[in-house]
Amino acid sequence: MARQGIQDARKGVRRTVARTLVALAGMFVFAFALVPLYDVFCQVTGLNGKTSNQAQALAHEGADQDRVVTMQIITRGSPGLPWSLEAHTRQIRVHPGQSAEVHFTFENLGDEASVARAVPSVSPSEASLHLRKLACFCFQNQRLASGERFEAPLVFQLTRDLPDDIKTVTLVYTLYRQDAAPSRKSGTQARGGDA
């Protein structure tokens, strides 16, 4: 009787361990699955104000002449990248539904070629759901030789379903270096330490 009980218990323990191990593995995979899920979630809800990373088609809808939305465009650099990025238009008033075009100039002011990408962010973040980019330099990396200039357009549309309470949409591009900085620089950073 007691021996029977122990046999049952052993079997039970094995089953419990097997189940918890499956649950563990599942949760570990789930943690990584949360990364793409988060992206999907953000695209559906506009949670973090990221915009689509590929060109979208124009939504064919007439411009809503009764509403005007201010579109602000801000460009920023980041440490370690001797580039400048300028928007030719910093503020543009558009009707929802209407498409508009803004030109940007990239310039590499450094003495070496480098690769960078302009990473977009939209505020208020809900507006990113209603911002369609028909053409944008932000879909791919840019490579510029020393002193090279490059002009690129952004063609966008704020769709008519943009919530009524949003009056200003800010689109910020931050330039980030994509290739490793020349090794001398990171090396001297450390070398400077023991100088």
Binding site: A2, R3, G5, I6, A9, R10, G12, V13, T16, V17, T20, L21, A23, L24, A25, M27, F28, F30, A31, F32, L34, V35, Y38, C42, T45, G46, L47, N48, G49, K50, N53, S78, R117, V119, P124, S125, E126, T174, Y176, R177, Q178
Partner: protein, 544 residues
């Protein structure tokens, strides 16, 4: 925290061993150090966990003392900001992962088999392994203090990119040590679940189990659910730091805020991992010293389970100012407020258990009562923090520091101490020294409130957390807090004294050391022999 000399098995029990679940134990096996290294006995492993936890409590405590000494007055006197940040970070990590969690695992190792009438844990060798991972993990973590660039300095919440792109080189070691501690917790949780689900004495149904066992079962499920997420997050950090991925780096298309979502998806259940077993301990102690059955046993179980489930739906209340849309703010505010309901039920049940009881105030009861009052105060500030608009003012201030220290120190830590005082007679065969325990209690209660209560005011007045130096209007609050902290810190030496004295001698305790105690552990002799319940004990299922 318990015996240096483990209880010796009696001759009878040694003979009765054959066929027991704990058949790995060899009585003619190694002695001295090797014996502790290789032990598979749940009581010895429990003792090891408790001693480890107490050592970490003092190491983390010393870090807190450094922090409080620097904050004693405005200006930088003792340490530089870099080192200060390492101290706050290490204090948090050590206390959460090294002191509080292992203490609960230690108590579970000792008491879960005794309370369900099992001869040992279900997986004794795994049990040994999961303990010995901890000293390795924390030796590694502490060694980062002497590495070039210093120890982790980004706070225990290690937000990216401060903890990735801008982190000191020791971060990789920090990640590795957290992995080890996480594996240890996971293995411990598997063991506890397997034990509780399969090794209960015949006739004990789930709803007959003591609340300590219940809360630990639920906690173990939480651990299984969220520790892998922590492991995932720190693995992503590792990849970002060393292999050029961009999970949390905006430059490569990642999002630093994603880190916070993942971290708090682990972190909020983690908070309950540190408090649910405390609920269990208090729910066992209060009926004992009220000499009256716990009021609302079933609702206690359901409340614990609902707190555990809700804990997965509230994580973003740590992120109200990170730039969430209105809908998210509202959702997380409402779901967080809901947690007050089951928590309230628990407090009401404890108080109703006291009502019309026959109360005495032995040291375990003193700590349990202080737990109820001070944890509830922490709950009130938690409710205030849940109110999202107000959180825009509270967030990342000393108000938050006050809140979570109220739920963790007079909450979790007091419950652990209550548990230790409660079960010391069972572990050592002696009652803890009453007068000394009372001194320890009153100095701790006064010290804790002196430390953490003024933090509410400092926070409301505008003092951000994690700063080594502050504006002059916060000076008085900080001085009081520091004095309280030193007082609390020093009075913990009394706790060590009580435990050591209790191990060495003192008033002899009978099998049933407390006259109102009901659970199975009180049917075996004090001190508990090394092997217990080799044949399942008789259990009367009507007690709850």
């Amino acid at each position: 925290m318990a015996s240096h000399l483990p209880p010796r098995p009696t001759a009878q029990q040694s003979q009765a061993e054959a066929g027991g679940m704990a058949s790995d134990e060899h009585h003619h096996g190694p002695r001295g150090l090797m014996r502790w290294l290789l032990t598979t006995n749940h009581k010895e492993i429990g003792t090891l966990y408790l001693i480890f936890s107490l050592s970490m409590f003092f190491i983390g405590g010393i870090f807190a003392m450094v922090v409080r000494a620097e904050l004693f007055q405005p200006g930088l006197q003792l340490v530089q900001p870099e080192f200060f940040n390492q101290m706050t970070t290490m204090h948090g990590l050590i206390m959460v992962f090294g002191a509080v969690m292992p203490a609960f695992v230690g108590l579970a190792n000792w008491m879960v088999p005794l309370q369900i009438g099992a001869p040992d844990m279900a997986l004794p060798r795994l049990n040994n392994f999961s303990f010995w991972l901890l000293p390795v993990a924390f030796a590694l973590l502490l060694s980062t203090l002497v590495m070039p660039g210093g120890a982790p300095n980004f706070g225990w919440t290690f937000y990216a990119p401060l903890s990735t792109t801008y982190a000191p080189p020791s971060t990789t070691f920090f990640i590795f040590s957290l992995h080890l501690a996480g594996i240890s917790s996971i293995l411990g949780a598997i063991n506890i679940i397997a034990t509780i689900l399969n090794l209960r004495t015949p006739g004990m149904r789930m709803m007959d189990m003591s609340l300590f066992v219940w809360t630990w079962l639920i906690t173990a499920f939480l651990l299984i659910a969220v520790m892998p997420v922590l492991a995932g997050v720190i693995t992503m950090m590792l990849l970002d730091i060393n292999f050029g991925t961009s999970f949390f780096n905006a430059a490569g298309g990642g999002d630093p805020v994603l880190f916070q979502h993942l971290f708090w998806f682990f972190g909020h259940p983690e908070v309950y991992i540190m408090i649910l077993p405390a609920f269990g301990i208090v729910s066992v102690i209060i009926p004992t010293f009220a000499r009256k059955r716990l009021f609302g046993y079933a609702s206690m179980v359901y409340a614990t389970a609902s707190i555990a489930i809700l804990s997965f739906l509230v994580w973003a209340h740590h992120m109200f100012v990170v730039g969430l849309p209105l809908v998210a703010e509202l959702f997380f505010m409402y779901s967080t407020m809901l947690i007050a309901v089951p928590t309230g039920v628990k407090v009401f049940n404890w108080i109703t258990t006291l009502f019309r009881g026959s109360l005495t105030f032995e040291p375990p009861m003193l700590f349990a009562l202080a737990f109820v009052v001070l944890f509830t105060i922490g709950g009130f500030s938690g409710l205030m923090l849940a109110i999202s608009p107000a959180d825009f003012q509270y967030h990342d201030t000393y108000f938050v520091v006050a809140h979570f220290h109220y739920v963790l120190v007079p909450g979790a830590v007091f419950a652990i101490m209550a548990g230790v005082y409660y079960w010391l007679p069972k572990w050592t065969g002696h009652y803890p020294h009453t007068r000394l325990s009372q001194w320890h209690f009153w100095l701790s209660v006064i010290g804790v409130n002196l430390t953490f209560f003024p933090m509410h005011f400092a926070g409301l007045a505008g003092m951000p957390r994690r700063i080594p130096d502050y504006a002059l209007q916060f000076a008085d609050f900080n001085m009081i807090t520091s004095i309280g902290a030193f007082m609390f810190g020093i009075s913990q030496l009394l706790f060590v004294a009580v435990v050591v004295l209790c191990v060495r001698g003192g008033e002899k305790a009978p099998a049933k050391a407390w006259d109102g105690a009901e659970d199975l552990e009180w049917t075996i002799p004090s001190p508990a022999p090394l092997h217990t319940f080799e044949t399942p004990p008789h259990f009367e299922p009507h007690r709850h």
